[in-house]
Symmetry: C2
Subunit: 390 residues, 2 copies
């Protein structure tokens, strides 16, 4: 086990009806409040009115910036920063899923930074401070509600980059699983895939003797596998929605990589996919992860055997390589069973820009930690992912 | 799943050599520092000198209060509070295990409270503020380093009571597993039992549909079972010490009871044992838990079957009752295998004061949540625990 530091100060307020507390929580952070959201779905569901009423009941001055899209855009972030400065905004409230939260974090950190916010994403600077951010979560997926991450897309040139800094972790996250019930099944499956991918990136480490975090990862994966299947079968069933929502936070709040070095290779490759093709992040991950596994499994066969036997209950008595491959196959079959694409064709992505994506993925040098992936390796994984069958 | 709130702001600094950072961390909390410890073992190991040097290198003014004993005493807490007030102490540093940390928390909260600190333990008041507390942990057991709990014994009348309040959670915890290597095997086993007991109190809930936390609990139990066996076999082996130390914190920092109501019946009964007989807390728990399980298992047979099959790998094809009983038997056999007593005789406790303990245990009304235990039920569990064989 490696030395580590861990702290997660976000206050989680979890359960039915909790969105009514947003006004009181935001008042603690101080106004005026920038209310940031994606517009349409929260207006349809009535959540928008509910949040606004709660904020107004606390006498908070409000400014609004809607229109966040999946793969949130740098241009909107810049607009938000300008608003914050002009109106002396005291805190930012994100109402939505990972895209809205990531965008809110970028705005909040950018507003108190003298330079250009994009510096935080290109690695030129690290956010040391931020306006306080509160969250009302509507979607179980990115885990951004308690994480230190934000991923933003610069639509000029379609660069999709991440910033990771404790300063941007939300102060509180209101998480009512009922709010996620109106999502279309495809989005539910994308979200569950994203949660699983966050765990898998951490699980596939080359660090030995990390038994506790291994088992916590496996526990989270098994929970998500069962819960998403139930959630898709009955969208109004509260219990699996609650499991998914809490699992989404735990998958990405830093706990599961304490003492180990996570991989992140597949995420980095996916960012190149979704930067160009603007696909849903979870679907992009589904289309890549089995191919990544297939490409790297021999580098740590023991870990892939453990994954197969503990997560997928593969009989451990077979040849290790056969056991490992069966685990990967079950992961892939599971993704198919929840309606995810498991190859680029399923995502609607043609094979003509693989070279370009592999090149762009090298922006900061080789990817991943379980296996270091150079341009050729990334290209090989993309080619695997472009095949219908291996 | 129940609605819940969760926040754990303690900064964990984990790994080899981390105790050298204590001075810099305490400087952030502000001096003068009250250095609180148990005296002998940290002086023998050299940790005392190392901590003092680190504090002095930061120019921190120091005041010292040693002499904390297992089942920490109210009289020493009162002495500490007086010192804090007289010397305008700015922060408290606990160097040791759960007893030292619990005592430091009591001092830190009592120092800023106008009334009597014992009010926090009798339920007359709740700590709303506290001097900041830092920790250098030497023992994997109580989980006090990141918890909101403190347990103190009033030696006049031998009342052992708990206080739980977010205000007393330590600001930081330095956790170097190497520091736990010099413990005698009996203390290592007591610590592991305490960790498992913290998980079991949460695991045995009557709340349905708490799959994620169930699985996280099982993950933690399986890790501790394997790690303590390895740690006892080779005291200098770092990996199992690291697993135990991190598991000890996670077992008791609130994560594992999110969304569920924990039991705490066995802990409450144990407090009556150790208040009178001053036994090690972990050993007291080992002597009681199997009997508690045996007494209550029919009230939630499904949960005991799950415990047997997932934690102890009992074959699930048998009759549910037989499967549940086999799980309890394996838990008991495991405790025996690590040198723990599993009955009161093994603890050296005679059977002549069971009635008195059962009466005192009713101080705040019936115990536990899986099954509400009145005086007669507590007495029945104590009688079971007094038998050598069931």
């Amino acid at each position: 086990m490696r030395n580590f530091e861990y702290q997660n100060g976000t206050r989680v307020i979890f359960g039915k009806g909790t969105q009514t507390r947003v006004g009181a929580e935001m008042r603690k952070l101080g106004g005026p409040v920038l209310l940031h959201h994606g517009s349409s779905s929260i207006k349809r569901s009535g959540l928008y009115d509910e949040v606004k009423a709660s904020l107004e009941a606390e006498g908070l001055e409000l400014l609004e910036l809607g229109g966040v899209k999946p793969n949130p855009r740098l241009s909107l972030v810049r607009q938000g920063i300008e608003l914050c400065r002009k109106h002396k905004i005291g805190s930012v409230l994100a109402v939505g899923g990972g895209s809205v939260i990531d965008s809110a974090k970028a705005i909040a950190a950018g507003a108190v930074y003298a330079g250009d916010v994009w510096d935080f994403y290109t690695g030129k600077a690290q956010p040391a401070a931020s306006l306080p951010v509160g969250v009302v979560l509507t979607l179980s997926a990115a885990g951004s509600e308690t994480s230190i991450s934000s991923v933003i897309t610069d639509e000029e040139g379609w660069h999709k980059l991440a910033c990771n800094a404790p300063a941007i972790r939300p102060v509180f996250a209101i998480m009512n699983p009922e709010l996620s019930m109106s999502l279309p099944p495809y989005q539910v499956a994308c979200g569950a895939t994203d949660i699983m991918a966050h765990v898998l990136e951490r699980y596939f480490t080359s660090e030995a003797e990390v038994d506790l975090t291994d088992r916590l990862c496996e526990a989270t994966l098994k929970t998500v596998i069962a819960a998403v299947t139930r959630a898709l079968a009955d969208p109004r069933d509260y219990a699996p929605r609650a499991e998914l929502m809490w699992a989404g936070s735990l998958a990405h709040n830093g706990l599961l990589d304490t003492g180990r070095l996570a991989d992140w290779g597949t995420h980095r490759i996916e960012h190149e996919l979704s930067a160009i093709y603007d696909v849903a992040h979870g679907a992009g991950l589904a289309a890549l992860f089995p191919s990544w596994m297939r490409f790297v499994y021999k580098a740590n066969l023991g870990r892939f055997v453990q994954f197969a036997t503990r997560v997928w209950d593969v009989d451990s008595s077979g040849q290790p390589e056969a056991v490992a491959l069966e685990g990967i196959k079950r992961m892939r079959d599971f993704l198919v069973s929840i309606g995810m694409p498991v190859d680029l064709g399923g995502l609607g992505i043609p094979g003509d820009r693989l070279e370009e994506m592999a090149t762009k993925a090298m922006r900061f040098g080789p990817l991943g930690n379980l296996v270091k992936l150079g341009r050729e390796e990334v290209l090989a994984i993309l080619h695997l992912a472009a095949q219908k069958d291996w």
